[in-house]
């Protein structure tokens, strides 16, 4: 078997570089969205409002109980149809469509938001109750205590786990090939089917993922160490 690395590099290489741009874009916004959603979910879950609590638990179970890929399909194909049908009830024809990249960001935001909300929740629970009591004793309200003395250290303690989720999200962007986002996998697949350089193409693809995610995991390990040894020096 003859392998054509030169051709693969020169043709697929530049295309993958563009693909990295898409991956970074989706990951950055998807991750920001998931952070926001996870925080809202975690705080909502702590409220004493029973019905709200039930609804949030149900929602998190729903999302965690279905595959991310199915959720991407649902957001990309089904939600626009449902919205269309809904507005049609009022006699409005919308023809709503969601861009594949947008569907990706929304899907990541919701899916990762649900998983990360559990991380934040357990981080909140593990904050020493003495911090709350000290805040209350000074005259802060429960709400002020939550936002000033509980959530900041909880988020800080969650950073290492968030790092792992970020790396996972980068790799999960490959799922977006299925809803026609021009990310790395779809570009490779197209190239391979046109040139039959299957071995070279997918090997290069795997290498690109490695090159992106390994340094990031390193960064999150370093961050974790720095948090543990903070200011001890």
């Amino acid at each position: 078997m003859t392998l054509y690395w030169q051709k693969t590099f020169s043709t697929l290489g530049p295309s993958l570089l563009q693909g990295i741009g898409v991956v970074v874009y989706v990951t950055v916004f998807g991750f920001l969205a998931s952070l926001l959603i996870s925080l809202v979910l975690a705080i909502g879950r702590m409220s004493k409002n029973r019905p709200l609590n039930r609804i949030l638990v149900l929602f998190v179970e729903l999302i965690r109980g279905t595959p991310l890929l199915v959720q991407f399909f649902y957001i990309y194909y089904v939600i626009p149809m449902l919205l269309d049908a809904f507005f049609l009830l009022f006699g409005v024809k919308t023809g709503i469509q969601i861009k594949p990249v947008t569907a990706g960001i929304i899907g990541f935001g919701i899916n990762y938001g649900c998983y990360m909300s559990e991380v934040i929740r357990s981080a909140i629970v593990s904050i020493d109750p003495g911090q709350r009591e000290a805040g209350l004793a000074l005259g802060y309200s429960e709400r002020q205590v939550l936002f000033k003395f509980i959530i900041p250290p909880a988020l800080r303690n969650s950073i290492p786990v968030f790092g792992n989720y970020l790396v996972m999200m980068i790799k999960d962007t490959s799922l977006l090939a299925m809803i026609s986002v021009q990310e790395l996998l779809l570009r490779t697949k197209t190239f391979a089917s046109q040139t039959f350089l299957t071995v070279e193409a997918y090997t290069l693809l795997a290498l690109v993922y490695l090159v992106v995610s390994v340094p990031l995991s390193r960064v999150s390990v370093v961050l974790e160490k720095r948090i543990k040894h903070r200011r001890k020096s």
Binding site: E133, L138, G139, R231, K232
Partner: protein, 244 residues
């Protein structure tokens, strides 16, 4: 009228009754020390005084107002009554200086520069001024506790509650904290102190209260309590802790 009046206070956790019919009055400027064996309810009693625990029955009158009926306004009351905890509970993500100046700035809208001045003064008073920029986890327990006292003082409290302030400290660090507390007592601060430091009780207290099994067993001057206690349980407790 007494500054603080505790009337028929009781507290249960489920079936467990921790406080039974507590009646105590504290005058302004008094230093009241509460002693008693572990599990006697003294910490719970203290925590009821700023509603970190909700009493199950009875009343707590502060300058005539029933604080158990305050509802959301409890924050206003807590600003006037400081608390020092066994485990210090400094805010870990903030420097010593921030710990002390935070509440006056955020809750009393005090000017930042003025709050900083005041915080540094208070840190000087507790001997921690040179650690103003340090973070709590770099300090010893005794140092953290002195900062915690400065933090409570920054709100200009009318009364200070101490919940076993030296119990979590290494023995050689206890003295510094007790020194600060003695200074406050001399300045006329109203203090209610739960402690196992009998020396401190003897030397500083205007009144000593002995609690056991949720009751106030004996309440009197340190002289009386330590030299001629009336109750058998007080005698037994004191002979145990003093003859160690």
């Amino acid at each position: 009228m007494a500054m603080l009046q505790i009337k028929n206070l009781s507290k249960s956790f489920g079936d467990l009754q921790v406080l039974r019919d507590i009646n105590i009055e504290v005058e302004k400027g008094q230093v009241v020390v509460i002693i008693g064996p572990s599990g006697s309810g003294k910490s719970t009693m203290l925590r009821c005084l700023n509603l970190l625990e909700t009493p199950s029955g009875g009343q707590i009158l502060y300058q005539g107002d029933d604080i158990t009926a305050l509802g959301k306004k409890v924050t206003g009351y807590r600003k006037r009554v400081g608390m020092v905890f066994q485990r210090f509970n400094l805010f870990q993500l903030h420097t010593v200086l921030e710990n002390v100046m935070m509440a006056p700035v955020q809750l009393n809208k005090m000017d930042k520069a003025a709050a900083r001045e005041k915080a540094l003064d208070l840190l000087g008073k507790v001997g921690m001024r040179d650690k103003a920029e340090a973070y709590p986890d770099t300090l010893s327990g005794g140092q953290q506790q002195r900062v915690a006292i400065a933090r409570a003082l920054a709100m200009d409290p009318e009364m200070l509650l101490f919940d076993e302030p030296t119990s979590a400290l290494d023995p050689e660090l206890v003295g510094d904290v007790l020194e600060v507390m003695k200074k406050l007592a001399r300045e006329g601060m109203t203090m209610i102190v739960v402690t196992h430091e009998m020396g401190f009780a003897r030397e500083v207290a205007d009144r000593v209260i002995f609690m056991d099994e949720g009751y106030v067993v004996e309440d009197g001057s340190p002289d009386v309590i330590f030299t001629k206690p009336k109750n058998e349980r007080t005698k037994a407790f004191l002979s145990r802790v003093l003859n160690k």
